[in-house]
């Protein structure tokens, strides 16, 4: 059974915290719950950005997600 929205948010945040990479693609979160459809996963990840828990990092052509605490400084992203 798919995780609830709150459970999914917690799983995404845990993944963002524990992953060796500071910045993650949306697809990296799919493994948090294989039963959640990609579009629903994207909506939950974007909700976390709205809540200020995750941040977008964009190269201009691709967008990644990161915890604010794991981004070094405004421009100091790790790159892709």
């Amino acid at each position: 059974m798919a995780l609830s929205k709150d459970e999914l948010k917690a799983a995404i945040l845990e993944k963002a915290e524990k992953s060796p990479k500071a910045q993650l693609y949306i697809k990296d979160f799919y493994a948090c719950d294989p039963e959640t459809k990609p579009r629903d996963m994207k909506n939950v990840a974007n909700d976390l950005v709205k809540e200020g828990k995750l941040m977008f990092w964009s190269s201009g052509s691709t967008t990644m997600y990161a915890l604010k605490s794991r981004i070094k400084n405004e421009e100091g992203a790790e790159g892709i």
């Binding site: 977008f56 201009g60 052509s61 691709t62 967008t63 990161a66 405004e74 421009e75 992203a77």
Partner: protein
């Protein structure tokens, strides 16, 4: 007065063509940060390495696209370009501007940015080059509240949809590209402003196969107007072209004497499927062989027009050569009726089916056309629940595409071929 010595850039001003260096120097008189663009660029030319760092966490509240972070890696030496973010502003449909709108936009960019622009990016957006992080929110407020204009897409978002002028001015447009583009832009606001996909995704809408927005070359889903009945012919007008009373191509090539118009040389012989001929002084077309290349219609617009049973062809998978080589879109649906009455329901269903598949199967930074290429057209057609048809194959009689699935083959792929060949010699 110049802040940096720029001999390499200065040399670029010596040619007979307009120079961006001259433009930047002029702009620097009122926007001193432009001196630092010149200084940093000169250094890059000298050292043969970029000094831009691109990407970052900058944006405006609630949006995950429209702003692209740019920073100098030498901020102490070139403080004017310490922050030099790009802002993508959604272009008006068909790029119809009023001079008032352009003046407002330029005033806004003089106020909050460097004044440098790029009209237009390849997606179609108005690209405003160079501003600081603290200017982004006030710029966005004025853009949206005072001008009623919005940011475009960037990153892994749906990019700003683009369309040709369509039925607003063009008699060849086979559907209302502006209505379609507007309708889908409103429907997919979330996908435009927040990342949704493994990589960028673009729609483009062209009203006829002339494809004035280059949808077939640049968009992940190209919606290109077409017709499925017959080209309309005005035989009296054909005779006027032959007599030289109407200029060919609407007079577009009238700057030079090309000699007397020849319908054989300029129309009939250039038809790619050779489906046209003259008979008894009349132009005849075998419409079943016509590939809608538009050449004859372009040459004789007063004599020939697209048919009246109109709609669009849907092609999927074009891309420019960023990661892999460039590729054109592949025809998937030869004809789809396009109607605003049902809010382009059939197209919407098609788009969302492509997204659902690509979001699950596509790799990070893989365009949908690359996913199609990796897994094969038969796989894609099966996902889309579309039966293979001859139009999916470039050359049906020589191309060895096999669309059979095992369950469709009597005895499956593991059957005893020798036993089969005993009954059916190869």
């Amino acid at each position: 007065m110049a802040k940096h010595e720029t001999p390499l850039l200065d040399q670029l001003e010596s040619g007979p063509w307009p120079s961006f260096v001259t433009d930047l120097k002029r702009q620097a008189e009122t926007k001193p940060e432009c001196w630092d663009i010149l200084g940093q660029l000169e250094l890059s030319y000298k050292e043969r390495i970029t000094h831009w760092k691109h990407g970052g966490i900058v944006g405006v509240f609630g949006y995950g696209g429209g702003i692209v972070g740019r920073y100098s890696d030498l901020p102490k030496r070139f403080p004017g370009v310490e922050h030099f973010h790009t802002v993508r502003v959604a272009q008006p449909a068909s790029k119809y501007y009023s001079s008032k709108n352009l003046r407002q936009l330029m005033d806004l960019w003089e106020k909050y940015g460097s004044g440098m622009t790029n009209f237009h990016g390849s997606t179609g957006d108005i690209i405003l080059l160079g501003t600081r992080t603290e200017n982004l929110e006030p710029f966005f407020w004025d853009l949206t509240h005072d001008m009623g204009q919005d940011l475009g897409g960037s990153g892994s978002n749906l990019r700003t949809p683009a369309n040709c002028i369509g039925q607003s001015r063009c008699e060849w447009s086979c559907y209302d590209t502006e209505e379609c583009c507007h309708s889908l832009t409103l429907k997919y606001q979330d996908e435009i402003h927040r990342p949704a996909f493994p990589y960028k995704f673009k729609f483009k809408f062209s009203g006829c196969p002339n494809d004035c927005v280059a949808a077939i070359a640049r968009s992940d889903i190209a919606v290109i107007g077409t017709w499925r009945d017959e080209i309309r012919i005005d035989q009296a007008a054909v005779k006027e072209y032959i007599a030289g009373n109407y200029p060919s191509n609407g007079g577009a090539h009238s700057g030079r004497d090309w000699g007397k118009f020849s319908i054989e040389k300029e129309v009939v012989d250039l038809c790619p499927t050779q489906c046209m001929w003259m008979e008894g002084g009349e132009l005849k077309i075998d419409n079943t062989e016509c590939t809608r290349c538009m050449h004859c219609i372009n040459v004789m617009p007063r004599a020939l027009r697209p048919g009246v049973d109109t709609g669009a062809s849907i092609c999927v998978g074009a891309k420019a050569p960023i990661l892999d080589g460039a590729q054109f879109a592949t025809l998937i649906v030869p004809f789809m009726k396009m109607s605003a009455d049902n809010e382009f329901e059939e197209l919407v269903e098609f788009i969302e089916k492509v997204w659902d598949w690509w979001m699950e199967i596509g790799k990070n930074r893989e365009r949908v056309g690359e996913t199609m290429q990796r897994l094969g057209l038969p796989h894609f057609l099966k996902v889309m629940e579309i039966e293979p048809i001859p139009q999916h194959v470039k050359e049906p009689r020589s191309n060895p595409y096999v669309f059979w699935r095992e369950e469709e083959v009597e005895g499956g792929f593991e059957r005893n071929v020798e036993e089969f060949r005993a009954r059916h010699a190869a």
